[in-house]
Amino acid sequence: MKLGTITERLARDRYNLDDGPHIEIDQAAARAAGAGPLLERICPAGVYSVGADGAISVQWAGCLECGTCLAVAPPGVLSWRYPGSGAGVAYRQG
């Protein structure tokens, strides 16, 4: 059984693309709190990645909407909402 990379896995899931990002990150607050590596690690969908310059990129379109990042991020780092009506991940199994 090959699980494949996270990207390959997410490609099997169904998504309805939202008009814009539902996750916003305060880069300065994230840097001050050293939150990048934590977010990178705890997100099951690999949404966050820390670049060479320390900035965190957010591939929000692959978000599985679990809420883990919001629950563990230091205060002020993330603003996270559910995607707009009907948008985002749409499980066919669940």
Binding site: M1, I6, R9, N16, P44, S85, V89, G94
Partner: protein, 433 residues
């Protein structure tokens, strides 16, 4: 008190999961006008569970639930597995009594929730899917309805059934953010397998199913565990990881999921399978300490939005508690509507109903479970200890045999847990679980 504000519906239910659908169904059945609003493009699209539904409670809502609903398999075999890197010890329990009457079924939520919402519509509920509720309308501390984008809809009572993240209550200032040790993330794969192969591998006949609860090396010691449940033609497999422990551990959520799925004692079950879906969802693990804010003027909170879920180490339960709380709430809302009084004092009947139901009683019974399961020994040390005891019994290395007690004592001496730990944990387990 006979305030009769202009309303669009008697009741608006936010979220078409198990809790929302059962609430909506019962209130429509009682003759109320009910709107059920769901943010997913169709009911179930946002929902994910491990998938064993202890479904006895559903017979109160749908008399032949296990036959009529799109369930996967009837769980007649439960296996508790202590998994180590190079050994495992299983407690394997199969019983035909679990099928008659049906006690638990495996489910896939995209199918189950769609069916539940369909039953709601047949009972007269108006379903609006693909609409995210943005806010509660609150006037003088009383909930008057909901807002979605530009639109506002008014009602006598709002039922918040919006699940574990419960933004509806949080944004209205009714519920504080939960601490990370009250939450766990479930990372799950659904793996398609040929039906015959699956039944052979899990030793199943017909529509019978197996449920594995796994502790130990599957999470590399992070609080939580693994699960592996059989569906009709697929396996639901994944890990549940307590957020405080996950954050501390240095492990990645996806990495632990993969470690479990690829584990040498797990992989053979899945050989030749095809990944159908990969998903993640939070689950409430705080137990009774997390249950609060059930009632406000014009508002009741049901299901996991109210913190109702239980992890006992052997079972994860949320769906049955969601259904039970929905029944308790629907009865109270109906009584409040009939009395024309939807104040907090009137709706408090829900809290009393809940406390008297199996939901309130089980939450109270298992109130010590979260603290017990936070003790790390359960995850780290007991698996290897058990394996050492059995190794001593089965490894006939030509040394003279000793009695079981001696073998166990030797294993205990070599293990990082002492006899007093073992006794203390045993006592705690008896009291907590």
């Amino acid at each position: 008190m006979s305030e009769t504000p202009e309303v669009d519906f008697d009741v608006i239910v936010i979220g078409a999961g198990v809790a929302g659908c059962v609430s909506a169904h019962e209130l429509a059945k009682a003759g109320r006008s009910v709107l059920l609003v769901e943010r997913g493009p169709e009911p179930g699209a946002k929902n994910l569970s491990g998938g064993v539904f202890y479904c006895r409670v559903m017979e109160q809502v749908f008399p032949s639930f296990a036959d009529a609903a799109p369930v996967e398999r009837v769980i007649t075999r439960n296996c508790l597995s202590f998994l180590n890197r190079s050994s495992f010890v299983n407690l394997d329990y199969a019983d035909e009594r679990l099928a008659e009457p049906v006690n638990a079924v495996s489910v896939l939520r995209a199918r189950l929730d769609a069916w539940l919402a369909e039953q709601c519509e047949q009972a007269g509920v108006m379903l609006m899917a693909g609409i995210k509720v943005d806010r509660l309308l609150v006037e003088d501390g009383r909930v008057m309805g909901i807002g979605a984008g530009e639109d506002e809809l008014r009602c006598h009572v709002v039922v918040a059934a919006d699940g574990v993240n419960s933004f509806i209550s949080r944004d209205a200032g009714f519920r504080a953010k939960d601490p990370p040790n009250h939450l766990a993330v479930g990372v799950k794969s659904v793996i398609g397998l040929d039906r015959g192969v699956l039944e052979d591998r899990f030793n199943l006949e017909g529509d019978q199913g197996a449920a594995y609860a796994v502790v130990g090396d599957c999470t590399k010691g992070v609080g939580g565990g693994g699960f592996m449940y059989t569906n009709r033609e697929s396996v639901s497999i994944g890990v549940v990881l307590r957020l405080d422990d996950l954050a501390r551990s240095g492990h990645s959520a996806a990495g632990l999921h993969d470690h479990f799925v690829d584990h040498r004692f797990i992989a053979p079950f899945l050989k030749g399978g095809e990944l159908l879906e990969y998903g993640a969802h939070l689950v409430a693990e705080g137990g009774q300490a997390m249950v609060r804010d059930l009632v406000r003027p014009g508002l009741v909170v049901v299901g996991e939005a109210a913190g109702l879920a239980l992890n006992t180490g052997l079972t994860v339960r949320g769906m049955d508690l969601a259904a039970g709380s929905a029944l308790a709430a629907a009865e109270a809302v109906e009584a409040a509507l009939a009395a024309g009084d939807c104040s907090a004092a009137s709706l408090d009947r829900y809290r009393r109903n809940l406390a008297a139901s199996f939901v309130g009683r089980d939450m109270a019974t298992y109130r010590r479970a979260p603290a017990f399961l936070e003790g790390r020994r359960m995850f780290n040390d007991y698996g290897p200890l058990l394996a050492d005891v059995f190794h001593g019994l089965y490894d006939l290395d030509l040394k003279p045999r000793r009695h079981l007690l001696k073998t166990a004592r030797e294993a205990l001496k070599a293990a990082p847990v002492g006899l007093t730990d073992l006794m203390a944990d045993g006592w705690k387990a008896l009291r907590a679980l």
